[in-house]
C-alpha cells in the first residue's frame, strides 16, 4: 500500500524546518510543541513557527465534510508555502497532509501547493531518524516504558520503529512491549464521541495490555491517542502515565524539566 | 431474470471501466521445495494430520495389511491401481469386503481408493468421480486409505491446475483431499474427524 506522495529524500539536513504544531498540541498539550522545538534546536536545526496555521482539517474530512476541511487545511498551505521541510509531532496530522491533501485539493487551484506540501511534511520521529540520521539519543529517563503505535503513523506513513530506536539508547529506560502495540486505542478523532462506549472499551483493552507490562509510562507519537488513554486512565485511577515521545526525549536530554512537561 | 437482460445490466454498468490485463506471470504461493517429491509430500501431509508411506509394489499387500489392522469391514473402489495387491492385503488383515455403494460405505470401517494425482507441496491427493470410482468410498468410512503410484506426484499447484480443465472435462466432480476432516469452530480448538474421514493414509507405490 503506497502513499500517494513520497517525501523527497534529503541528501543533507534542511537549512530550516517549519513546525506544524497541530491544533490539539496548540490548545491542549503545548508542552509537546515546545519539546519538539527544543529537540530540533538541540540537534542544530533552525525551527520556525508560521502562525497562520490552524488545523489540517482531519475532523471534518473524516466526517465527510470536505469543503469545511479545505477551509482550515488551506491555512496550512498558506503557512507553509515555500517550506523546505515541515515537521509535526503527530502521525495522523502528517498522514492527513501526505496522504489526503493531494486528493482533497485535486482540481482546485491549490492542488500544486498541496502536492508540494505533501512531499515535504514529516512526522517527528521519522524526521529525526530518517532525515537527520539520529541513531541514538543520549540522555536518561529511569522508567519502564511501553510503546503505542498510533494507527495513521503506522499504516499510512509506514513508520517502522523510528520511535523505538530513539528510545533505545536512553539510560535507565526499559522498553517492554505490550501484547498488541499496533492495535487501535479507540480515539479515531470524532469516533471517540460518536461511539463513546466502544471507544472506551478499546481504551480499556490497551490499558489492560499496558498494565500487564508493569510499565510506568506509555509513550506514543500522537496526542489524540494519548489524551484518550490518559483520560480513561485518570478516570479509572490507573497509575500509568501516557506521554508523548517528544516530551520524553526532551526530558531525557534535560531540555525540559518534568514540571514544565506537565 | 433471463440471462440476456441480467448481463445487459452488468454490461451497461461496466461501460467505461478500465480493465487491467491478467498478470502474465503468477508468483508462487507455496515455498517451492527441493528434494524428492515423496519426502515433500509426506512432510506436508503429516502437518495436515495425515500419513504417507513409501513402498515397492511387492511390499504393498503386506504393508497395507499392517495399516488396516483393526478394520473389520472395508469398501474398495472397483477401479483402483494395484487392485489385486490391495485385495490380498485386506484378506491378510481379515478385513471383510462390503459392496462399494452408499450402504456399504456407510457401514464400513475403511474405504480404499486410488487417486488421479498427488501434490507434493501440500500433501494432497486428487479424487475424481468416474466409472468404478464411487464418491462414497473415500468419504463415508472413518478411515480413508489411498493407493497412489509414485509417478503421479506433481510438485505443486501450478502443475495441478495445468491439468485441471482436462480433468474437469472427464469428471462431474473432483475433490482435492489433504488429510483428515477437521474443524476449529468451537473455541478455535482443532478437532480431527468431522463429517469426512478422521484418518487418512496414502500408500505411495513405486513399480
Amino acid at each position: 500500500m503506497r502513499s500517494s506522495a513520497e517525501p523527497k529524500d534529503f541528501v543533507a539536513r534542511p537549512a530550516r524546518v517549519l513546525l506544524f504544531v497541530t491544533c490539539l498540541v496548540d490548545l491542549l498539550f503545548p508542552e509537546v510543541g515546545e519539546a519538539t522545538v527544543l529537540l530540533l534546536r538541540d540537534l542544530g536545526v533552525p525551527v520556525d513557527f508560521p502562525d497562520a496555521q490552524t488545523c489540517c482539517g482531519q475532523p471534518a474530512f473524516n466526517s465527510g465534510f470536505t469543503d469545511e476541511a479545505r477551509r482550515t487545511a488551506r491555512t496550512l498551505l498558506d503557512a507553509f508555502e515555500g517550506a523546505e521541510a515541515v515537521v509535526s509531532p503527530s502521525g495522523s496530522c502528517t498522514a492527513m497532509v501526505r496522504e489526503h491533501f493531494p486528493r482533497l485539493f485535486e482540481g482546485t487551484c491549490d492542488e500544486p501547493r498541496a502536492r508540494e506540501l505533501a512531499a515535504r511534511t514529516y512526522e517527528l520521529s521519522e524526521f529525526l531518524v530518517d532525515v537527520l540520521g539520529v541513531n541514538r539519543v543520549a540522555g536518561s529517563f529511569a522508567a519502564r516504558v511501553t510503546y503505542h503505535d498510533s494507527c495513521h503513523g503506522l499504516r499510512e506513513l509506514h513508520l517502522s520503529g523510528q520511535g523505538r530506536k530513539l528510545l533505545a539508547g536512553i539510560d535507565g529506560l526499559e522498553l517492554v512491549e505490550m501484547a498488541r502495540p499496533e492495535q487501535c486505542c479507540g480515539f479515531g478523532g470524532t469516533f471517540s464521541v460518536r461511539l463513546p462506549e466502544m471507544a472506551t472499551a478499546m481504551a480499556d483493552d490497551k490499558l489492560e495490555q499496558a498494565a500487564a507490562t508493569g510499565a510506568d509510562v506509555l509513550v506514543g507519537g500522537d496526542t489524540g491517542c494519548l489524551m484518550h488513554l490518559a483520560g480513561r486512565a485518570s478516570r479509572e485511577g490507573a497509575r500509568l502515565r501516557p506521554m508523548h515521545l517528544a516530551v520524553l526525549l526532551a526530558e531525557a536530554r534535560g531540555l525540559m524539566s518534568p514540571a514544565a512537561a506537565r | 431474470m433471463d440471462r440476456r437482460a441480467f448481463l445487459d445490466v452488468v454490461r451497461r454498468r461496466l461501460a467505461g471501466v478500465a480493465a487491467p490485463d491478467l498478470p502474465s506471470h503468477l508468483p508462487p504461493t507455496f515455498a517451492t521445495g527441493d528434494g524428492r517429491l515423496f519426502d515433500r509430500f509426506a512432510a506436508a501431509l503429516d502437518l495436515a494430520g495425515g500419513e504417507a508411506i513409501h513402498m515397492r509394489l511387492d511390499e504393498l499387500s503386506a504393508q497395507l495389511a499392517v495399516r488396516v489392522a483393526g478394520c473389520a469391514t472395508a469398501v474398495v473402489a472397483p477401479v483402483v491401481d494395484h487392485h489385486e495387491a490391495i485385495l490380498e492385503g485386506l484378506a491378510r488383515a481379515g478385513c471383510r469386503l462390503l459392496e462399494p455403494g452408499r450402504d456399504g460405505a456407510a457401514h464400513a470401517d475403511l474405504g480404499v481408493t486410488g487417486a488421479v494425482l498427488g501434490v507434493a507441496a501440500t500433501g494432497s491427493v486428487l479424487l475424481a468421480a468416474a466409472q468404478g470410482a464411487p464418491r462414497t468410498v473415500g468419504l463415508l468410512p472413518p478411515f480413508h486409505l489411498v493407493v497412489l503410484p509414485e509417478d503421479r506426484l506433481v510438485p505443486g499447484f501450478e502443475e495441478l491446475f495445468e491439468q485441471m480443465s482436462a480433468l474437469a472435462a472427464r469428471s462431474s466432480n473432483l475433490v482435492l483431499v489433504t488429510g483428515p476432516s477437521r474443524t476449529a469452530d468451537i473455541e478455535m480448538t482443532l478437532v480431527r474427524g468431522v463429517h469426512g474421514p478422521e484418518r487418512v493414509t496414502v500408500l505411495v507405490v513405486t513399480a
Binding site: 491542549l28 465534510f65 491555512t75 494507527c151 472506551t200 481504551a203 478516570r235 | 440471462r3 485441471m164
Partner: protein, 468 residues
C-alpha cells in the same frame, strides 16, 4: 434481507455488555493472526497480493463476458444456471426446484448468499426442513441466531454454550469437550446427509473456462452435500468468478491463507456438472443461482473495487471494533469492515447508514485485505455521501461554523480564548470531569484535559523572546 432495525451503537452496547464475548473474539483473532503470518511466510506476499488484485480487477471489469462464458460452459455440461436479479427471484427459483422434486429435507453448507436472500426462513415457511451442516452454522442454527463471522460463524460461542445448546436440542448429556461435541454433531448430521433430498451450498469461485465451480471446506460437509442428495443447488454472488483454472491456482491459496492461515483446506471440491452416465453416484441435477441483488449498482461507481472481495474474512480478523463486539453488532448479513461498506450499498442508507461511522479508521482492514481493496478509503467515500445527503442539521451546522472560525488564525485564536473562559466552571485541577452535551459523550467515561492556560503560540512567543 435488510439490516436489523436499531443503531450500531445500540447493538454494540449489547455486545459490550456480554460477558466473555470480547475475550472469545480476541482469542480467535490472535490465533488467526499467528496462522496468517505462518501461511504467508516464505512467499513474496506483496507480489501475491498484487497478482490477486490484478486478477480480481480484470475479472470484475469484464464480468459480463465471464458470466456469459460460465453459463454457456456450465450448460454444455448439463448444469442449470439461473440468473437472479433479486433475492426474491433467487428464493423463488430454489423453492421451485424443491417443489419439482417433492423435496422435504435439505442439507446446507455455509453460504453467506443464502443469508442475504433469507433462504432458511423461506424454506421453513414452505415446510421444508433445512439443516445447516457446517459445524459453526449448525451451532448458530440451534441458537436461532445469524452467523457472527463470515468464516467462523460461531466465533462468539464458548464451549459451555455449545454444550448447553446440544444438550437442550437433543436431550443429551454431553460435556463441554470440543472433540466430544464434534463427534456428536457428526453422528446427528450423518443421518441427515444420508436422508436429504437436496444439498444447497455456496460457491467460493466459479470458473468461466469450464463452467465449473469450487467450494472449500475442512469438515467434509460440502462433499456430502454435493454427492449424496439427488439434487445440488449452488448459490453464488455474481462477482465470485475467475476466468480459468490458472487464476484459481493463485486465488485459492490466497483465499484459504487469508481466511484460516492454510495453504489449502482439507477439501477443495470442484463441481463440473451433474453425474455423468457412467459414474456410479453423484447428483442427477446441479443448479447454480447467480445473484445480483444490488451488486450491479456498485459496478462502475466509486465503490466498484468492493466487488473484488473474495469473502476471506481477513478484514474482520484484524478489526479492533469487531474484536470488541463481533458480527451481530453490525445488524447486517456482512459485518466488520467489508460489512460496513457493503451493507449501505446493498441494503441502503436507511437500513445501514450508521455503519460507515462504526470505525476509528485505523486502516488495519486495508492493510490485511489480500486483494488490496482500499476499505478505509471506501469508508471515507461513504461518509462523504452521508455528509452530503443524510447529515443531521446539528452536525452540518457545527462543521460549517468550525470551518469558518478555524479558516483563519485570528478567529481560531479568538475561539480558543472564548473556550478557555467558557470552560472555567468545569475545570478541576486542570481536568474536566463533567461537561455538557456533546462533550458529555467524552466525559461520561473519561477525563478531559482543560485547554492549556497558555497555548503553544503563546509559549512560542516567549521562546522567541517576544512575549511575557
Amino acid at each position: 434481507m435488510t439490516a436489523d432495525p436499531g443503531t450500531f451503537e445500540q447493538r454494540a452496547h449489547i455486545g459490550l455488555q456480554t460477558p466473555g464475548l470480547a475475550a472469545a473474539l480476541g482469542r480467535a483473532m490472535d490465533y488467526r493472526a499467528v496462522q496468517r503470518a505462518q501461511a504467508f511466510a516464505g512467499t513474496d506476499e506483496p507480489a501475491v497480493r498484487a497478482a490477486g488484485e490484478a486478477i480480481r480487477a480484470h475479472t470484475v471489469a469484464n464480468l459480463d463476458h465471464y458470466l456469459e462464458r460460465f453459463a454457456e460452459n456450465a450448460a454444455a455440461r448439463g448444469t442449470k444456471v439461473f440468473f437472479a436479479a433479486t433475492a426474491a427471484e433467487a428464493v423463488e427459483y430454489v423453492l421451485q426446484v424443491l417443489r419439482d422434486h417433492g423435496a422435504k429435507l435439505v442439507v446446507k453448507g455455509k453460504s453467506m448468499v443464502s443469508e442475504e436472500i433469507g433462504l432458511n426462513p423461506a424454506l421453513g415457511s414452505a415446510d421444508v426442513e433445512v439443516i445447516e451442516t457446517d459445524l459453526g452454522e449448525y451451532i448458530v442454527q440451534l441458537a436461532d441466531e445469524t452467523p457472527a463471522h463470515i468464516t467462523t460463524p460461531a466465533v462468539h460461542k464458548t464451549r459451555g454454550q455449545v454444550r448447553d445448546l446440544f444438550n437442550r436440542a437433543h436431550g443429551a448429556d454431553l460435556s463441554d469437550d470440543p472433540a466430544e461435541l464434534t463427534r456428536f454433531a457428526r453422528d446427528v448430521l450423518r443421518e441427515k446427509f444420508l436422508a436429504a433430498d437436496v444439498g444447497i451450498t455456496g460457491v467460493n469461485f466459479a470458473v468461466a473456462e469450464t463452467g465449473s465451480f469450487t467450494i472449500v471446506t475442512n469438515e467434509g460437509n460440502v462433499r456430502m452435500c454435493t454427492s449424496l442428495p439427488r439434487v445440488h443447488i449452488a448459490l453464488m454472488g455474481m462477482e465470485r468468478i475467475v476466468p480459468s483454472f490458472r487464476e484459481l491456482s493463485l486465488m485459492l491459496p490466497l483465499l484459504t491463507a487469508s481466511a484460516a492461515g492454510l495453504g489449502v483446506t482439507a477439501y477443495v471440491t470442484f463441481v463440473n456438472g451433474p453425474r455423468q452416465p457412467e459414474e456410479p453416484d453423484g447428483p442427477d441435477e446441479v443448479h447454480v443461482v447467480v445473484l445480483d441483488n444490488g451488486r450491479s449498482a456498485i459496478l462502475g461507481g466509486e465503490f466498484h473495487s468492493i466487488l473484488h472481495c473474495i469473502r476471506c474474512g481477513a478484514c474482520l480478523n484484524v478489526c479492533p471494533v469487531f474484536r470488541q463486539v463481533g458480527g451481530h453488532a453490525y445488524g447486517a448479513v456482512y459485518g466488520g469492515p467489508i460489512g460496513m461498506v457493503l451493507a449501505p450499498l446493498l441494503d441502503g442508507f436507511d437500513a445501514a447508514g450508521d455503519l460507515p461511522h462504526a470505525s476509528s479508521l485505523c486502516v488495519a482492514c486495508t492493510e490485511a485485505c489480500p486483494v488490496n481493496i482500499p476499505l478505509h478509503e471506501h469508508l471515507l467515500g461513504l461518509r462523504r455521501e452521508i455528509a452530503r445527503s443524510r447529515a443531521t442539521r446539528g452536525e452540518r451546522f457545527a462543521f460549517a461554523w468550525w470551518g469558518r472560525l478555524w479558516g483563519n488564525a485570528r478567529t481560531y485564536r479568538w475561539s480558543a480564548r472564548l473556550a478557555r473562559i467558557g470552560q472555567l466552571p468545569l475545570v478541576r485541577r486542570r481536568r474536566i470531569r463533567r461537561a455538557p452535551f456533546p462533550l458529555s459523550r467524552w466525559t461520561s467515561a473519561r477525563d478531559m484535559p482543560a485547554l492549556a492556560r497558555g497555548s503553544f503560540r503563546e509559549r512560542w512567543r516567549r521562546m522567541e523572546g517576544r512575549g511575557p
